[in-house]
């Protein structure tokens, strides 16, 4: 009797040991996540087992995300982080050098790249992404939604004083010089024009700019930090997820929305000259998966999948009460609305012309 117990225990131990080894050395033997494609993984390993991701997401969010991917696949991801504009500049420079370095681009500007630079590919899980958040030509897929909203320093501005419409801003001369906007917010300008009409929209924005001396700054992350620190009282526009992230860290910042709410997407695209194409395909599938987006939602990113709960859970309920205007601009449109932005808000941290004309 004892012998049979001992024998069973020994087998059980052996079995447990073997399972531990199996899980440790080849995690894919465990229940595979929804995004796993073993055929693609095998190919990726044959191609070198690496993945180079260029992304605009903060390392604190992106690295844990890709760590999960690496742990499950055994691939090695190199994450290169910079702002959208800098990533686009880097990609252009690398194109000149004929040394494309990226496999996956994960930023809000994939759709602005020349078409031949981005591969057409549909990750199997992309069918779960709403049509509005993906490219019909299969070059990019929305990973998270960048809803544009306003933010304020909750220590220095009373919630009751917050404007209900953009016209209300003109009733607050005390905020003169303390309101800021990022120099790249041309999508928001387009949404305001679409909502109010070109003439009224421009008149309104010009009035806000001139009466409140809106500061034009660089970097949405820095804008959220500086609003929380009190350098600015209000962000005239910022990505809601960044305001949420800053708030989740315990900073005195909160956000609100008014009509219209511009939305565009943090997208994933695969390089047509990817050095690790199979790893890139697997990575893209991971980003549009429930697991990938659940991980991102933890830090306040608003998922594009409807089956992933955002954080805080009611964020979409608040946003959806407003008029939402999706803005996906081509490179050409982007330039046009950039010019429009600069015409209204000045060139901010960039060029300033005609100052001498007076």
């Amino acid at each position: 009797m004892f012998k049979s117990y001992a024998k069973n225990a020994a087998f059980a131990l052996l079995g447990a040991g073997a399972m531990t080894l199996a899980v440790g050395s080849a995690p894919s033997f465990a229940a595979d996540p929804s995004w796993m494609d073993k055929g693609l993984l095998a190919k990726a390993k044959k191609e070198g087992g690496n993945l180079v991701v260029y992304g605009s997401m903060n390392e604190r969010e992106a690295l844990p995300l890709w760590k999960i991917f690496d742990k499950v696949t055994g691939l090695k991801t190199v994450y290169v982080r910079a702002s959208d504009v800098k990533l686009m500049a880097r990609i252009s420079v690398e194109r000149r050098a004929k040394k494309p370095g990226w496999d996956i681009l994960q930023t809000t500007a994939v759709h602005k790249l020349p078409k031949k630079w981005v591969a057409q590919y549909e990750p199997p899980l992309a069918k779960e992404i709403p049509a509005i958040a993906k490219d019909p030509n299969k070059r990019w897929y929305g990973v998270y939604a960048n809803y544009n909203g306003l933010a304020y320093n909750s220590d220095k501005v009373k919630k009751a004083d917050l404007p209900k419409t953009y016209d209300d801003f003109l009733k607050h001369p005390e905020w003169k010089g303390r309101i800021a906007i990022d120099k790249g917010d041309n999508e928001w300008v387009k949404a305001v024009f679409d909502h109010y009409g070109a003439k009224k929209g421009e008149k309104l924005l010009r009035a806000i700019k001139s009466k409140l001396q809106v500061k034009v700054t660089r970097g949405h992350g820095a804008l959220a930090r500086n609003t929380a620190s009190g350098e600015h009282l209000i962000s005239l526009n910022n990505y809601i997820n960044l305001s949420i992230r800053t708030k989740l860290k315990g900073n005195p910042i909160d956000w609100w929305v008014m009509d219209p709410v511009a939305v565009f997407y943090g997208q994933v695209g695969i390089s047509s000259a990817a050095g690790n194409p199979s790893a890139a395909r697997l990575g893209a599938n991971y980003l549009v998966s429930k697991e990938g987006q659940t991980q991102l939602a933890k830090s306040g990113r608003i998922p594009t999948r409807t089956d992933v709960t955002p954080n805080p859970a009611n964020v979409l309920d608040i946003i959806n009460k407003r008029k939402i205007i999706p803005v996906i601009m081509s490179g050409k449109e982007d330039k046009k609305w950039n010019k429009k932005f600069k015409k209204i808000f000045g060139k901010g941290p960039k060029k300033r012309k005609k100052r001498r004309k007076k």
Binding site: V85, A89, R218, G219, R225, G230
Partner: protein, 579 residues
């Protein structure tokens, strides 16, 4: 048969050449060629790109469009206006403060002079980016703790200072550069023969007359050369305009060039055309600097008398002068350092005794866990060490060629090695990027492209140090070695190197410090795996890292740099004792 006679001729020429090409000559020629390559390749690429059409695949057909685009009158005027006001203001203020400190340290018996000298070296070692960040946190009109303190002290409703203005920029750059002005002016004060001033006093001149008619004319060449050098450094400075000028719309050449290349798509042609304008301004400045320095050397013959200058006795003014000088350092160095240290341990931006309990190491933990920090630290240290070693070696060899050989055009090497002083870092970074995107040399995105930039930038400093050191060593010593049968290599290794080692070591440390704190050129050249401390710090600042994180990464950089400064001071003492 007829071709036969040519074979022995070729052979002879080859043999003669191989006999002539000893190892030492090979090294000398290689060094000279390397210098030419380092200096002219980026300049050539800058010119080429400026006159070529900008296409997504690279430079296209010949065009003037880049110049037409860049030289729109209003736009150019705005940049020139801002750049020149900033440079003139900064160089003037820097000179005034630097000269005052030099006078106190070198010509008076005020207590604490040695400390002031050490503090100047520390101020020099701290990266400009860090200083600019610290001042933004100190004197921002909205969140600067300095303004808050003044407001509560004097019951003000408005912040008395706004650092995001031209005045703020000028103050910050001057507070960072005045130690450099002091270090440049110090030797001029040291060698000034006090007997001339005494003679004037004996002849009945009043103090102001002595200053105006004796001291100032004697110092004029050194003053002028320092002013010009600081002007060039100010007009090419990048960090202060980026952090403090751009938020309020004040653009200068350097920020404009960087923006043009960081755009999507990058405007290479436009930035090259602008770069050429900035280069022209700097070359004019350096041309006059060289002229002024030539005069300074003529005046320096006064020093060949072997005397010890008597310090001016300040009497009752000894301590007041020391306190005033100390206050300058407290303001210029103490305030920003205090801000950074405080901010690195606390989340609140305004220091307050009540907050002491909120002490946290979270920012340091964040930085130490920050994914690219350790690789950035390693890259910066490696680049600093490698560039210092190469530059010191090149400087040593070239200084020897210039001073010891009878080569007819040896002086041109000195001139070539000096050219990079006129090329702003922003242009070196951009032009090296252009060059190695065109050339089939696979250094893009590697640490080697950064090394090329660093060596190019610091070449003039290596040359100056080595030339200065070599002048001190009489040629006789090498001649004795040669007569005793030593080869050139043996003479280098056993005579020159040991004698020059303190100078070379000081040069190495100086260049190492500059390499570790480098930002501007690295911004253009650092790749995904070759980020350096400067680019990481700037990314944290620009992309919304918390102020605590930014302060912590700054403090982590400053501590080792201060230790290196201690080492520099030790080497300095060693050199001066030998002198």
């Amino acid at each position: 048969m007829s071709s036969l006679p040519t074979i022995p001729m070729k052979k002879n020429a080859l043999m003669r050449f191989s006999e002539w090409l000893t190892v030492s000559r090979f090294v000398i020629i290689a060094c000279a060629l390397l210098c030419l390559w380092l200096v002219f390749v980026p300049l050539a690429s800058l010119l080429y790109v400026a006159f070529a059409e900008d296409t997504p695949e690279g430079p296209g057909a010949f065009t003037f469009d880049n110049f037409i685009n860049a030289y729109t009158v209003d736009h150019l005027w705005n940049l020139v206006e801002n750049s020149v006001i900033f440079a003139i203001g900064s160089s003037a203020l820097t000179l005034v403060v630097g000269v005052a400190i030099a006078w106190v340290v070198e010509r008076t018996d005020a207590p604490g002079r040695s400390i002031f000298h050490g503090l100047s070296l520390i101020a020099f070692a701290i990266p400009g980016l860090i200083i600019a960040m610290a001042w933004a946190l100190t004197l921002s009109p909205n969140i600067g703790w300095g303004n808050d303190v003044l407001k509560s002290m004097f019951g003000l409703t408005e912040a008395p200072f706004d650092i995001f203005t031209m005045g703020g920029m000028i103050w910050v750059l001057s507070s960072h550069y005045f130690p450099l002005a002091y270090l440049l002016m110090g030797p001029a004060f040291r060698v000034l023969d006090i007997r001339m001033e005494e003679a004037a006093v004996v002849s009945g001149a009043k103090n102001w007359q002595v200053t105006r008619r004796v001291t100032m004319p004697l110092l004029k060449p050194a003053l002028l050369s320092t002013l010009l050098l600081i002007f060039v450094r100010a007009i090419e400075s990048f960090e202060v305009p980026l952090l403090l000028g751009q938020p309020s719309g004040i653009n200068v050449f350097t920020t404009e060039i960087r923006d043009a290349i960081a755009e999507a798509p990058p405007e290479f042609g436009y930035s090259s055309a602008l770069g050429l304008t900035l280069l022209a301004i700097c070359i004019i400045g350096v041309y006059f600097y060289r002229r002024a320095t030539r005069h300074a050397e003529a005046y320096a013959t006064i020093t060949g008398k072997g005397y010890m200058p008597t310090p001016l006795r300040l009497g009752v003014w000894r301590w007041p002068v020391t306190i005033m000088t100390g206050l300058v350092f407290v303001l210029a160095l103490g305030l920003p350092l205090f801000t950074l240290v405080w901010q690195s341990f606390y989340f609140k931006t305004v220091p307050n005794v009540d907050l002491i309990k909120d002490f946290t190491l979270e920012s340091y933990v964040y930085i130490l866990e920050y994914p690219v920090f350790l690789s950035g630290l390693k890259n910066s240290a490696m680049l600093g060490a490698m560039s210092a070693t190469i530059v010191v070696f090149l400087g040593f060899v070239m200084a020897w060629i210039v001073q010891r050989t009878r080569m007819k055009y040896a002086w041109t090497l000195d001139a070539i090695a000096f050219i990079p002083i006129a090329i702003p870092s922003v242009i070196i970074g951009a032009s090296i990027l252009f060059a190695y995107l065109i050339l089939p040399i696979p250094v893009y995105n590697t640490i080697w492209i950064l090394l090329i930039a660093y060596v190019t930038m610091y070449l003039p400093y290596g040359m100056r140090f080595a030339s200065g050191g070599m002048i001190q060593i009489h040629k006789e010593l090498e001649e004795v070695a040669e007569v005793s049968g030593a080869t050139l290599m043996q003479t280098f290794r056993r005579v020159l190197m040991p004698l020059m080692s303190p100078v070379l070591m000081a040069a190495w440390l100086y260049i190492f410090v500059m390499g570790v704190r480098e930002l501007t050129a690295s911004l253009f050249l650092a790749g995904p795996t070759t980020q350096v401390l400067g680019t990481i710090s700037l990314t944290l600042w620009e992309e919304g890292g918390s102020f605590g994180n930014v302060a912590a990464i700054s403090v982590i950089q400053i501590v080792p740099l201060v230790m290196i400064v201690g080492l520099m001071r030790y080497m300095e003492n060693k050199v001066s004792k030998r002198g």
